[in-house]
């Protein structure tokens, strides 16, 4: 089913393309602790890729490697067919990789709209001077960016809080605003760090719906981390399973579900 170069077609008939992100033999250490041990996997264009595993498995570390917050000691990161030199998080973001955080990192003092607009910063090209006099190109650009943001805001159903300062919003909505900010940059790869963490059932269902329709409507490639197996299995096309920094499974949800190592890790067979 999985063709190395051509991609594959999912059960529900979506076409998945070639490799966007290729992680090759990544090892990450903090002092003497190996958080990630020699892991390889890829993310393909248009798919929803999940990284799952119990707490402390190294999932977040892996996401931080992809988004440039951590630099691995060994291994190569290939993005869109090119090997990526170690770079700063803001440079990664400028390459078109957007992310959300497990503990929400929004600009609390700004309104929802302003937050989403910061997602467009990397896309804005006019200089300070033309912005200062607010003419021509700068104005057109501002209007265009505004339109894109409004579309994202509509899409995620947060119009009613557009002007509200983020600090006043409840947790579930903040998560959605963070997703909106990431989407506004029209990312080539969207990374979601536990998008459902701390949510109630209803909010989880909403978020799942949004993730699926983002993938469907915009064709956005999504990689997400989650430790709730149930949610992930319904959402994702392919799943990487990590435990104690190692990759113990990789494949479609069904393949992973029947993998003995994965079952052991989740049922808590003793490690020795």
């Amino acid at each position: 089913m999985l063709d190395e170069t051509q991609g594959y077609v999912t059960a529900d008939g979506r076409k998945i393309g070639g490799v966007v992100m290729d992680m090759r033999n990544i090892t990450l250490r903090f002092g003497g602790v190996e958080a990630i041990k020699n892991i390889s996997f890829d993310i393909r264009e248009g798919e929803v890729r999940a990284i799952i595993g119990p707490n402390g498995a190294g999932k977040s570390s892996m996401l931080n490697v992809i988004s440039g917050f951590y630099v691995p000691q060994e291994g190569e990161v290939w993005f869109r067919g090119e090997r990526r030199a170690p770079m700063k998080p803001f440079e990664v973001a400028r390459q078109g990789i957007a992310r959300t955080f497990q503990n929400i990192a929004l600009f609390e003092g700004m309104s929802v709209l302003d937050n989403v607009m910061t997602g467009r910063l990397t896309q804005m090209k006019t200089g300070l001077f033309s912005q200062a006099i607010w003419r021509g190109a700068a104005e057109r650009e501002e209007v265009e960016n505004r339109e894109i943001c409004e579309r994202v805001i509509d899409f995620l159903e947060i119009q009613h809080i557009r002007k509200t300062p983020v600090s006043r919003l409840p947790y579930g909505l903040k998560k959605r605003v963070e997703l909106a900010r990431a989407l506004a940059s029209e990312p080539k790869l969207l990374l979601l760090d536990e998008p459902m963490a701390g949510m109630n059932v209803e909010e989880k269902e909403d978020m799942s719906r949004f993730i699926l329709s983002v993938n469907d409507e915009f064709g956005t490639t999504i990689a997400l981390i989650e430790h709730d197996m149930g949610v992930v299995m319904d959402l994702s096309d392919r799943v990487v399973v990590m435990d104690y920094g190692k990759k113990i499974g990789d494949g479609t949800p069904d393949e992973v579900r029947n993998n003995q190592d994965v079952i052991d890790a989740y049922l808590g067979v003793s490690h020795d």
């Binding site: 988004s67 917050f69 700063k88 998080p89 803001f90 440079e91 973001a93 400028r94 957007a98 992310r99 955080f101 990192a105 929004l106 600009f107 609390e108 003092g109 700004m110 302003d114 607009m117 910061t118 997602g119 910063l121 990397t122 804005m124 006019t126 300070l128 912005q131 200062a132 607010w134 900010r181 990431a182 940059s185």
Partner: protein
Amino acid sequence: MSDTLIFGMEVFLNGLMAGVLYALVALGFVLIYKASGIFNYAQGVMALFAAMTLVGIMDGQVPFSHLINAVFGTEVHHFGWHLPALVGIVLSMGVMIGLAWLVQQIIFRHLIGQEPIILFMATIGLAYFMEGLGDLMWGADIKKLDVGLPQGINLWIDELTFNLFDYGFFIDNLDIVATVIAAILVLALVAFSQYTKQGRAMRAVADDHQAALSVGINLSFIWVMVWSVAGFVALVAGIMWGTKSGVQFSLSLIALKALPVLMLGGFTSIPGAIAGGLIIGVGEKLFEFLVGPMIGGATENWFAYVLALLFLVFRPQGLFGEKIIERV
């Protein structure tokens, strides 16, 4: 109308004007504090340094001339030119931007994520370094700064008030100019931070470093920009104070007067810096005028600090600062 009231009005107006100058210095503090969480002790010295540089460039002084002469036994002092004020200001601004870049590269780039107290200590070091650097570059003597701003009594106000109250107010033209310039500066800064991409990025950095990185903002660039803007504000403040009372070491001490201004206005609020400056300016002049004679005068030296102390007790976040809420 009673004499006290008329004098009081004049004192009030003069207090407002003095307050504008305090506010100008406080503004520089607020800018850096908002964007990087650094309390920049060196802001006052930056104003001094900017003013010294401006005088030096306009008069065609050779920088480090004493050092050069001492080392090489030469006798160079002047390039022999006199530049127009505008050229001098532009070149001085260039120096301040260069300085901002150096400060970021040499000091603060290595201190990202450190405790605020460590960043604060670094700015104290920076203040003393810049003080010495300024002396070494341009000499320690008191210099006269004249960029062509009008000075002396404003005759129009003098005449108007004389006709109204039989007593002409003494309002310095320079103070009026300073007020106008400060107003323009504040409007420009607000417009910059609200309506430009860099301004939006600056506010984002002030709010959350990690989130700012994740949307592709280059922290170092924003910090250099903020220090440059603070350098520009310092230059404006330096020009105003320097024109008023000569470019000399005591100029860096006005930074201390900005402290009570900040405590009143709040460290994070640009309008707060303005309001705080005006309140301190008017407050200390009126207090000196009304209460001073009863307790032997010289109240201007301490009034601002006592007022700030009261604020610290009853409203520690200042008039406009963000409310400090600690989640337990």
